[in-house]
């Protein structure tokens, strides 16, 4: 089971926090959440993975789709605080360069 927290910071950055497992069922929701943010005018997005206990290839696909959508709208999608399990998926799929993990949510769009 999964829950998504979605908030927008004072400087207009969308923060998505998936809590639980990001598998095939949740990937669909993640994709819709990211698209919804960009369509609503928030094209700078941080996905905070600190409470994501598991992530599969379909969720990875949703992140890549979100990244493309955000960039097409002039923004970007960044990843913060992945768990060991999630980081393993990034490394095994060579996606750790593209979805370069940041140490914290606040600094994901700075520095």
């Amino acid at each position: 089971m999964i829950e998504f927290d979605v908030r927008t910071t004072d400087d207009g950055i969308g923060v998505v926090v998936p809590r639980g497992r990001l598998n095939m069922v949740a990937a669909r929701q993640l994709r819709e959440t990211l698209t919804g943010l960009v369509e609503g005018g928030t094209s700078r997005i941080v996905v905070d993975l600190a409470e994501t206990t598991f992530l599969d290839s379909s969720a990875l696909g949703a992140l890549v789709a979100g990244l493309k959508t955000a960039r097409q709208a002039g923004g970007d999608l960044r990843i913060a605080r992945p768990t060991e399990s999630v980081l393993t998926v990034f490394k095994l799929t060579n996606m750790d360069k593209v979805l370069r993990p940041r140490d914290d949510v606040e600094g994901a769009f700075h520095g």
Binding site: N23, V25, S57, G61
Partner: protein, 144 residues
Amino acid sequence: MDEARGAVESFEAPVEPESLDLVQDRLETFWAHDESVSAADRIRFEMALVEIVGNIVEHAFELDADARGRLLTVALTLGPDRIEAVLSDNGLPAAIDLGAVTMPDEDATSGRGLALAVAAVDEVGYERVEGRNHWRLMCHRNAD
């Protein structure tokens, strides 16, 4: 647990996306048989298992197939030196060459599942036997 034989568990699940959570819940309980399995081994085994179940859910049946007839059997074995899963379903034959599976480009939004499973564990096998698909995953247990 019996060290020589290991822990064995099998269960059935309908072939639908929601079964992913069922499989992951059952695996979580299964680890309780032997708490010495390392975090790294648990992660890579779960990853491969989820990708293969996901592949079956996505590809083993025609979209209009009768949902009641789609069944997946999962058998898990945990021994002192290896972890294994055998998945069996009554779906369509998988047209797959596991030796030719490659990771797609970084901007691909799908197609990483089998490549991830192959990268995560030590062995991934597929065969069609008597009208059923059989997938086998094996991971050697590492100390750390």
